[in-house]
Point group: C2
DNA sequence: TCTCAATAAAGAAAATTTTTCTGTTAAATG
DNA sequence: CATTTAACAGAAAAATTTTCTTTATTGAGA
């Protein structure tokens, strides 16, 4: 039920490098393959590990624009909220979408080819939604750090 | 040099599921294992694929707080910029950090256990930096969409 | 048109990894 | 002190990755 130090070390290693072999992991932590194998299967089954993915370099495939878009809705009624969230999910330009506390309702991370595509996205995909009040955009000049790994504190 | 349709389909498949086997990929695209293998190796070598990672469920390991922090510096002189970026990188609470265009200088995605930890992070790690002028925080109520996959348009 | 070279893909064998299975050790419990 | 259970080790089996050899296909130039 509760993760021990070994589990946390495995999680941490795999979120840095998902291609580590059982052998490599076992070696680095002074165990045989079996316990490492069984722990990984447990972490996967219990969904501590949500999935494994390849991270693609967006600029190398021509996605020059990464931006955050804040969205404010006209109404915070339950059906409005649900409608917006349902419509945002299938938009592939939207890599991330968060329901926010405070001045904005949603914050979206948007990835597109160029400014032209961004403009089309906002005008044709966001602004057409029924209950959108405001959209503000902030553009990223440079990626300083882009980690997918959740901070895991390993006591030693 | 330029990626063709098959390369894009492989990239797209692997950024959804990094554990797909060559056999599965080959089968789904009507090819044998060899061309799939060679294309993947090419995509890795050329860094179209930056890395493979396991995605960990932050809440399941007790990270209840995910927030964005905007940072404004007191000065935009080159050395100040570089100093800030150098100091942010090793902070493991900071999963992402972007240099922004416009009103804020940096936007950080921060992940910690609880509000207490967030407060300590801002006060002890951010506010102690030499050239920080302002820090504003926005807290996430709910994750609506959290994709790591770059939108890839596959013509068909 | 023919030949040659280059590219892409197929198929099979070798190497490595994952997965399963069996047995051992150690800790904990009654 | 005996017994049960959990964690681990080691080896065998199954599957996957990697390498190697061969076959088509295409395009350029003689």
């Amino acid at each position: 039920m509760k993760l021990d130090l070994t589990d946390l070390r495995i999680l941490n290693a795999l979120q840095q490098n998902g291609k580590l072999t059982m052998k490599e992991l076992a070696g680095s932590m002074g165990l045989s393959i079996t316990p490492v194998y069984e722990r990984i299967k447990y972490l996967e089954k219990q969904k501590y590990i949500k999935k494994y993915v390849a991270l693609v370099d967006r600029k190398k495939i021509g996605k020059e624009i990464l931006a955050f878009a804040s969205v404010t809705l006209t109404s915070h009624q339950r059906p409005m909220i649900e409608q917006f969230e349902k419509e945002v999910l299938p938009l592939k330009e939207v890599m991330e979408c968060y329901h926010m506390a405070g001045v904005m309702d949603y914050l979206l991370k948007v990835c597109v080819d160029d400014m032209d595509a961004y403009q089309r996205f906002v005008v044709n995909k966001l602004a057409v939604m029924e209950n959108i009040a405001q959209v503000h955009s902030w553009f990223i000049l440079d990626d300083i750090k882009t980690d997918t790994s959740v901070p895991i504190h390993i006591p030693d």
